[in-house]
Symmetry: C2
Subunit: 202 residues, 2 copies
């Protein structure tokens, strides 16, 4: 049986991790999943996509608390908070996608959700603040004076989201197979490094 | 002016980081520094190599405390603790070596010591416990029953040493340009990934 490559990418805002993932998926000719996950989850649950987008990658209270209070998705009396419902639905979808074959998945704690999947390569992409700020201004049109603040707030949310669901520390090397500073080497350089890991693994 | 490649390697015990560094230096045909540093430092200071080996990569109290109490190496009344003397002498040697040209340096907080050197590529090599334990037994002849305990204690010391001198967290991705889990890809695989980063940087 040939090996799959399930590449999960966690990324600091402005590090180019999402673009690196998309281009890598193109290069390897495998599916790429990011916001598509929300769409799939929304369709499956019956909630509107807009409602889910408003709580996506936000964490409140604790998932354990939610499970204790609300039970599971189908057996509960009171409805579970939307963000926890979304996480559970997305986690199920991520596991189904990983079953189907090789792919690249960005964000959504996919490394944690798939921690029992032997074919995962979990990647963390980051960069120093000047590189991220420059990228956020050039690519996302952020106001240069506010870029640093927005980056810090976004990453704070991502870190909280990751720790809330995984109980692990975002950006701690041991949670990933590979961590790449994209700052000095750019998008193509980081793709080359991740490709080298994928080749070595295959 | 052509770019140097100063590759610093921090590594978990049993991850193969030292061997990866040595083989990478061979491949790139550049000098490799590890225990040689102690020898150089010992010769320069006049202390015996044995005395220095006994305190190497051990941290006590605080370097700032030492500097406050004992002053610098030459102007002090009471002698500074040996481990801090060794760190300062080694740091000076590391900076001199980096000035001379491309090289690979393992351990000794070299990434922190050289934080103002623009040609550094700082690498952290790690692996999960089963891979490290198997390697420690096979390569260093550790008793299988004790391997895990020795690995944990050694890494605890390395972590304390790193934080003591750098005030940063050992194994936090952002402190390095590249973090590689050598477990699933082995020595050659990790060399390939680091080489890809070096190529992208050059």
């Amino acid at each position: 049986m040939s090996r799959k490559n399930i590449i999960t990418i966690s990324r600091q805002y402005g590090s180019g991790g999402r673009l690196i993932g998309r281009k890598l998926a193109e290069e390897l000719n495998i599916p790429f999943y990011d916001n598509e996950l929300i769409t799939l989850a929304a369709k499956q649950s019956g909630y509107s996509e807009e409602v889910f987008k408003s709580v996506d990658e936000k964490a409140t209270n604790s998932l354990l608390y939610s499970l204790a209070v609300y039970g599971n998705l189908t057996g509960s009396i009171a409805p579970m908070p939307l963000n926890d419902q979304l996480f559970i639905i997305q986690s199920n979808i991520i596991r189904e996608l990983a079953q189907q074959g090789s792919c690249v998945i960005v964000g959504r704690c996919a490394d944690y959700v798939l921690d029992e999947e032997p074919d995962c390569i979990n990647v963390f992409v980051y960069a120093d603040m000047p590189h991220r700020a420059a990228r956020a201004v050039a690519e996302y049109g952020l106001d240069a004076a506010k870029a640093e603040n927005i980056i810090q707030k976004t990453d704070k949310k991502r870190s909280t989201y990751y720790t809330y669901y995984s109980n692990k520390r975002w950006g701690q090397a041991e949670n990933y197979h590979l961590c790449v500073d994209s700052g000095p080497i750019g998008i193509e350089g980081a793709m080359g490094v991740i490709s080298a890991y994928v080749r070595a693994r295959t």
